[in-house]
């Protein structure tokens, strides 16, 4: 059962081949093909991209990058080849530059770039040094915390596209950062939070220093009354800013809660701080009773510290989602001539003006507000409206910028340039992760809320009781009740673990967009995998073509390309990469049938490209025998018109390198693995057999996939789904938890709970299961501890057994236990994974 766990050091490791790429740590498929000398030794590389990058780095004199980097492999994957990335020339456009480039002097330009594919600090160092060496670059500074580069260049000697290409040459990517994303605001907020924390921390330390003599002295009388009074006054002076300035967030939160007529976690904290401080101040002024300035200030410090750490972690998480911006339309296809789709020019969405005509392919986000001019489709506006049902769009209908075109290409007329739609959408994605919390956490919140009510009631009861019995102690017992039951352990129990789990997932190349998913991840019993783009790289290549009759290979290719011109399907991209001498004519009346194919008119022929069933409906005859060779083994699409079959085109899609290992890991975890694909039976069967996947379904339409998942769920299974295509979007939404590939269609990404970043490493899916199990276990332990503590402490404090300072100690200790528990390793790396993840470490140890 646990095959993957059992590899001892001496045992053979089928999953970690003898040679891993020196640059990206992926397995080397063909040893000896890509080699270069790095750090005095001949190294193996997995592909031409990694080899080129390594040679560039060595030639540039930055070899020691390979010594200082912390890891090769955090899901970034192999270095891209030049053709894999979108062209950078668009960034030179003067109109586009106005959005993100500053002009400090006539020939100097300044911009902020987001760096992508960064793994560790060594990458940042390499990028900074490299940028500084580029001709015409006047200044390059990288902020290690935000991973953004500030660059200035001389307009006469450098172009922005050349600078971006330079970054790409060493295996990273860079793209301009829109400063309107409130960077300034975030920095001010960060500084203020730090300042609050510092005031509270220093106040707490100093006040504690004044308090310790009083504790030590207690009763022996060495401390004279005057000295004690002096210390109290000093404590009062130092606690004042802690209460008035540092505690502001708690008071603001409590006030908001009260205004909304509910009781949140901030209420008892604010009450405790206010009552504790007021009572101590009164005791100081009246020179009698007890003071608890130390309790108040350390309470504020601990809570602020926890909140600060949480916000830092959240900022880190949202930064990792920045790269997703590249897949969302900072570009739009602007039409020079509204009746001619082939006239589309890629421009940045910023430059769109009212009146522009834009072609929106299915799966793309609508770049700006506007209305439909030509075409009929439907749009997913759920991200903006919360309404999950697609909205039908025909000519004249209004389109909202940021929504997603689902079915067929649309030509729209822009009514309002809305450059911010994309930024807003990303912000929403991140916000959603923070907003939706696991049910367990929600339950804990409810418990904490009722506990708060209980605490308030108990404190009031204790006060009334002691007021009758011993009025002098009444106030202090009430304060003790507040402090000892301060729900901060309960409030910290889940967020700190979730934040940590999130950070660990990010480090392994997966971004959690809905924290809620962690709970479903833990309960998952079945994983459904899509084939194209998920188990495979999704990069097809045309391997075989059969034509019928007089049509030449070039004619058929041209026809296929005109039909697929507006599509983002992998097949369409493969066709676009294919050389052909024929002019590609523009197709009209394009209609996309997700999961089936595309229909359109070229000249006066009605054509279909897609599955055999889909094309057969049009031409009304069975598949001719000539196509047998194509039908047999590969993914095949057909081209037909109403007169008959025209061609069969066979494509092949490379399996991801870690597909086998991932499927085995799923099985070792006890998950049932399913393979669902829209491809032909033969192809799917062969793959299922090769990966030893027990359940598979071929030729599935989106509806059938949806039904498949629903069937599993009705049988009581908890289903995880991994997919990437547009046709996967509904299934991803239906599954209990969903994974999407970063390179996939926007719609798929938006539905997904977890987005696999970079090249998309499948093993990250398996690791998220392991991590979710670990995280949920720790969260449960934390809750159990926090509740048990409160149940024990409340009666003790109310009955007067615990004084306020013991209460503060108890409160701090209970929070500390929760934090410590959360810092335990959440994930035990399997030996096989560890050996892949840290070859650099093994090398440096061997060198010693």
């Amino acid at each position: 059962m646990t095959r993957i766990h059992s590899f001892g050091d001496g045992a053979p490791r089928p999953q970690s081949p003898a040679a891993a790429c020196f640059h990206c740590a992926l397995p080397v498929a063909a040893p000896g093909r890509h080699r270069a000398c790095v750090l005095g030794e001949e190294r193996e590389f997995c592909c031409a991209g990694c080899e080129a990058v390594a040679r560039t780095i060595v030639l540039g004199g930055f070899e020691r990058y390979y010594e200082t980097r912390e890891s090769h492999d955090t899901g970034v994957g192999r270095a891209p080849l030049p053709g894999d990335l979108p062209p950078s020339e668009v960034y030179d456009d003067a109109e586009a530059q106005r959005q993100f480039v500053a002009t400090p002097s006539e020939y100097t330009r300044e911009a902020t770039l987001i760096l992508d594919r960064i793994r560790c600090a060594a990458c940042l160092w390499l990028n900074e040094q490299w940028l500084r060496r580029q001709p015409g670059v006047l200044r390059a500074d990288i902020n290690y915390a935000t991973q953004r580069a500030q660059i200035a260049w001389d307009l006469r000697r450098a172009k922005l596209s050349a600078i971006i290409e330079a970054v790409r040459a060493i295996g990273y990517d860079a793209y301009p950062y829109d400063p309107r994303r409130e960077d300034q605001l975030a920095r001010r907020e960060n500084r203020r939070a730090l300042w609050r924390l510092f005031v509270a921390g220093f106040g707490a330390m100093q006040v504690m220093m004044y308090a310790v003599p009083a504790y030590v002295d207690a009763g022996s009388g060495t401390l004279t009354r005057d000295v004690e009074q002096l210390m109290r006054w000093a404590s009062l002076v130092l606690t004042l800013p802690v209460v008035l300035f540092s505690s502001q967030p708690f008071f603001a939160g409590a006030w908001q809660d009260l205004r909304a007529r509910r009781i949140g976690l901030d209420v008892p904290i604010a009450l405790g701080v206010a009552i504790g401080f007021a009572a101590s101040a009164w005791a100081t002024l009246a020179a009698q009773g007890e003071v608890y300035f130390d309790t108040v200030s350390s309470l504020v410090f601990l809570l602020l510290g926890a909140r600060y750490m949480e916000s830092v972690a959240r900022r880190r998480a949202s930064r990792k989602l920045d790269p997703l911006a590249r897949w969302m339309p900072s570009f739009a296809l602007r039409l020079a001539d509204a009746s001619d789709d082939a006239s589309a020019v890629r421009v940045t969405a910023h430059v769109l003006k009212a009146g522009d005509r834009v072609l929106v392919p299915p799966g793309d986000r609508i770049p700006a507000d506007g209305e439909v001019e030509r075409g009929a489709s439907s749009a997913d506006e759920s991200l903006l409206t919360g309404e999950a049902r697609p909205v039908a769009k025909t000519a004249g209908a209004a389109l909202v910028g940021g929504s997603v075109n689902l079915e067929q290409p649309l030509v729209m007329r822009v009514t309002r340039a809305a450059a911010d739609t994309q930024a807003a959408a990303i912000a929403r994605l991140v916000e959603r992760a923070a907003a939706g919390r696991p049910r367990l956490v929600e339950r804990a919140d409810r418990i904490a809320r009722s506990l708060t009510v209980v605490v308030l009631a108990a404190a009031a009861a204790a006060f009334l009781y002691w007021w009758q019995v011993e009025p002098a102690r009444a106030l202090w017992i009430t304060v003790a009740v507040f402090v000892v039951t301060c729900p901060c352990a309960l409030a910290l129990a889940a967020p700190i673990v979730l934040t940590r789990a999130n950070g660990m997932l990010l480090a392994r190349g997966a971004a959690l967009t809905r924290t809620r998913a962690i709970e479903a991840l833990e309960r998952t019993t079945d994983i459904v995998l899509d084939k194209t783009g998920t188990l495979t790289t999704g990069r097809y290549a045309l391997v075989r073509m059969e034509t019928l009759g007089t049509a030449t290979r070039d004619d058929c290719l041209a026809l296929a390309r005109s039909l697929e011109a507006a599509s983002r399907h992998p097949i369409a991209r493969a066709l676009a990469r294919e050389q052909s001498t024929q002019r590609v004519r523009q197709a009209d009346e394009l209609r996309n049938f997700p999961g089936h194919g595309v229909e359109g008119r070229v000249g006066d022929r009605r054509l279909r490209i897609g599955s055999a069933r889909f094309c057969g409906e049009l031409c009304g005859s069975d598949l001719p025998g000539e196509f047998a060779a194509c039908v047999a083994q590969q993914t095949t699409v057909y081209l037909a018109d109403d007169a008959g079959w025209i061609a069969a085109l066979a494509f092949e899609d490379r399996l991801r390198d870690d597909a086998q290992a991932t499927v085995e890991a799923f099985k070792a975890r006890g998950l049932a693995v399913h393979l669902l694909s829209g491809d032909a039976q033969a192809v799917v069967q062969a793959l299922a057999q090769r990966l030893q996947i027990g359940h598979s379904a071929a030729g599935a339409t989106p509806q059938e996939k949806f039904a498949y998942v629903e069937r599993l769920q009705r049988a009581g299974r908890v289903v995880a789904m991994a997919g990437d295509g547009l046709n996967d979007a509904p299934v991803l939404a239906a599954a209990d938890v969903s994974f999407a590939m970063a390179g996939g269609a926007d719609a798929a990404q938006m539905q997904a709970d977890v987005v696999l970043l970079g090249e998309g490493r499948l093993l990250a899916i398996d690791q998220s299961f392991a991590l979710a199990r670990g995280a949920m276990q720790v969260i449960r332990q934390n809750f159990a501890w926090a509740l048990a503590y409160n149940v024990v402490a409340l009666p003790l404090a109310a009955s007067g057994w615990i004084g306020p300072w013991e209460a503060a100690l108890g409160m701090a200790a209970s929070s500390f236990v929760v934090v410590l528990n959360a810092m335990r390793p959440l994930l035990r790396e399997t030996p096989a994974l560890a050996s892949v993840a840290t070859p650099g470490l093994a090398r440096s140890e061997a060198g010693r």
């Binding site: 902020n143 100093q206 002096l230 000093a234």
Partner: protein, 56 residues
């Protein structure tokens, strides 16, 4: 014990001075990038005889 009458007010003054210093550092942006200084030490190329620039 009498020294406390001087030391306690002094300590309060010291806290205020340190607070002001910290505020200056914070406002000057010293805490905006906490990750970099830790790595700068390691990345600093101080090995003898090795130049970062092969062009010379």
């Amino acid at each position: 014990m009498e020294s406390l009458y001087l030391l306690v007010p002094l300590s309060v003054g010291a806290v205020l001075v340190i607070g002001w210093l910290f505020w200056r550092a914070l406002d000057g942006g010293q805490f905006d990038d906490l990750d970099r200084p830790a790595h700068d030490v390691l990345m600093d190329d101080d090995r003898p005889g090795k130049s970062a620039d092969p062009a010379d």
